[in-house]
């Protein structure tokens, strides 16, 4: 655990107790039966808004607390422990797009509402089954009032609930080219915008969204192009890595408890060295992942030049660790780990879905190598 400020410790403790009491794993189970397809509980989200979590990375001038990315990461880590579902990550990433690329007017219009949780934000970036921000094809063409957007986005996290979409579009050039990308602010109720809810293995909310000649005003565009997109994505990636770290930590602790209580061959199974060594290796992986995640979040707060590298390290490490631990969670629980009644399966599914979002291990290893010049 990083050395925390008093503010951060308080925020983390508050998040820990709220999550454990108000959003245990059982809350996610309930969502599975819910037909709305939002993938989170709106009442819980309202409470998060009231606690100020949606404003943690939003400037004070616009209604946030500006505690920063490490602070928000602590909240998401606690939420990850119980697989608590909410649009906090997506909304904070949308807020980052405005903070980093918005004009004063754009910020004044949207940030206070995002900070209070009244407006839910989401990032619409990918267009195929793999994360590929370079390959954006969705077209933005000049119109009389501003821009017309035509194309389709896939796997938009919290895309069903979003009131404000941050859409990556191409104003010029071909898919694969670095120049010609612009981020647009698109209200969720814009005409010509169609959403299709996706029912995912991890029960979270996501949507495919098509844009059939969606008209936006001139001032819907954010400044910064692909660089801005990269910075916004890095914030989403780091937050997701923090959430994955929390999930992996809990999956490990639950498994460790089982190793200390399940008796076979006349002794607790945790006394078998074959399992002890695997448990010890998981612990080592968790320690390495924690270091990477905290370093990435701290680098974003400090706007450090190697932040991108650290974020790719964090997302990769968190992904590796969460996969390892959730698979071992099933295995070390034996038959009971295969049952729907047990939590192990929920962590396993979440690990796979979180891996796919904002770039998996292969994407981030490649990116890390490129950033290091090989």
């Amino acid at each position: 655990m990083a050395v925390l400020s008093e503010e951060q410790s308080m925020l983390r403790d508050a998040a820990k107790s709220w999550v454990q009491e108000q959003s245990p794993v059982g809350a996610l189970r309930k969502l599975r039966g819910d037909g709305a397809g939002l993938g989170f509980d709106p009442a819980a989200w309202r409470e998060m808004g009231q606690m100020g979590w949606a404003g943690v990375v939003i400037p004070e001038a616009h209604g946030g607390s500006e505690f920063g990315w490490l602070s928000l990461g602590l909240v998401l880590e606690e939420m990850g422990r119980t697989l608590a579902a909410s649009p906090l990550l997506a909304t904070s990433a949308a807020a980052a797009a405005l903070t980093l690329g918005g004009t004063d007017d754009q910020k004044a219009e949207w940030l206070p509402k995002l900070a209070g949780g009244e407006v839910i934000g989401a990032l619409a970036v990918d267009e195929g089954p793999h994360h590929a921000p370079g390959k954006i094809a969705l077209k933005a063409e000049r119109s009389a009032v501003g821009w017309t957007l035509t194309g389709a986005k896939t796997f938009v996290l919290d895309g069903m609930a979003a009131d404000l979409l941050v859409v990556a579009a191409r104003t010029s050039g071909q898919p694969g080219e670095a120049s010609g990308i612009t981020l647009f602010l698109v209200p969720g109720d814009a005409a010509g915008l169609k959403r299709q809810a996706l029912k995912l293995a991890d029960s979270r909310g996501a949507a495919n969204i098509s844009f059939e000649g969606v008209e936006v005003r001139q001032d819907a565009a954010l400044a910064g192009g692909l660089d801005l997109l990269d910075q916004v994505l890095d914030r989403a990636r780091a937050l997701l890595a923090a959430e994955m770290l929390g999930s992996a930590s809990q999956a490990f602790e639950t498994t460790l408890d089982y190793l200390k209580t399940r008796v076979q061959f006349g002794q607790v199974i945790g006394s078998f060295q074959a399992l002890q060594h695997r448990a010890a290796k998981m612990y080592v992986e968790l320690e390495l992942a924690r270091s990477a995640v905290e370093a990435a979040l701290a680098a974003l707060d400090a706007q450090a030049p190697n932040a991108a590298e650290l974020v790719s390290l964090a997302k990769t490490r968190a992904g590796e660790t969460f996969h390892l631990v959730s698979n071992e969670m099933v295995q070390m629980h034996g038959g009971i780990g295969m049952t729907d009644e047990h939590d192990a399966g929920l962590y396993l599914k979440r690990a796979r879905a979180a891996e796919a979002a904002f770039g998996g291990q292969a994407f981030h290893r490649d990116r890390y190598a490129r950033l290091q010049g090989f």
Binding site: M1, A2, V3, L256, L259, K260, G266, Q267, V268, G270, S271, F272, Q273, Q276, H277, A279, A280, K281, Y283, V284, E287, L288, A289, R290, S291, A292, E294, A295, L313, T316, R317, R365, D366, Y368, A369, R370, Q372, G373, F374
Partner: protein, 407 residues
Amino acid sequence: MADFGASDLDAFRTEVREWLAANYPPELRDGGAPTDPEAIWGGRRFEGSDDPQIVWMRRVAERGWTAPSWPKEYGGAGLSREQARIIEKELAAGGYRVPLASFGVWMLGPVLLEYASEEQKREHLPKIVRGEIRWCQGYSEPGAGSDLASLQTRCEDAGEHWKINGQKVWTSYADKADWCFCLVRTDTSKKHEGISFVLIDMSSPGVETRPIRLISGESPFCETFFNDVLVPKNNLVGRVNGGWDIAKRLLQYERQNISGGFGAGGGAGGVAGDLAQVAKDYVGTDEEGRLEDADLRARITRNKMDVHALQLTMARIAAEQKASNGPSAVTSIVKYAAASFAQERSELMVEAMGSQGLGWSGEGFSPDELRATRGWLRSKGNSIEGGTSEVNLNVIAKRVLGLPDPK
């Protein structure tokens, strides 16, 4: 220790930088003249030597900077942890040679500071700081490796002296060391509670060493025999039969130190240099600057990311432990990870060099290439020395995770 603010540390950094630049022997600059490869370890045999490495060591030691955080009365510089780190960093950043490599500084000194009598500290610590005495570690025996506490080397009361009989093995540099810190059995009726920690002058009658050759072709370690070796009574550290706690504490310092070397990307056997750059040089790149061999590129990336995460972990542990004193069971986490990453790195290094990474000696190979081959083989010891990887996993499972012993 004084609490230094950031500006004081900056001033200290400047002072260190200037002093190093002013006092580095000109013979060592820019690669420099070859020096005796053993000189970096110091010891009696270099008494009065004017080898530039020894001159460098003496100058740094005079300021206490070979053991910067040790108290001044024992030859150290009495500096804070932050200041000591600054010296370390400035030495590395300036490309200076390490002034002194020493089991005394890394392992023995810290436990003497914790457990030894005032007289013992005054006798041994200053000589360690000044590199005058080279120490070796007499722990392992033919029958006592991972199960170190089963050691049998006998230590009996012979009036004025202790009398030592037995055999040690894998004693690194025993043939070159002046003194040995040694685990001996003072009570045969108990296991852990029958062990004592003694300091033995290797020039005593009855001490014999025989070098053992490694797979890397080098002979850094020995079998060590003790035949009726007489050791003065006051060379026993701590209580009689109270050596096991000291032994374990020393192992933590050893693991921490071994890992520190790995963290920098090296480790014993590690070859300096950026793995990705080596691969680029030997494999080539495509038009986008990526390594041409995609499979090798992916594996090198993994290893670099592993090492990066480990370095961050070591920094985090250091920050978290700032208030606590010394290393703990978490050193096993770092030692385990460091050993496996260092070994992978050594494998990747020879793989990247292709047939140039297979040279054993002679012409057709650069010194770096020959070092890579030998280093690859030497690195296999990383997961054995200082406690094997399996033993470290046991320590994590039991001490950190609280898992029980099998019935």
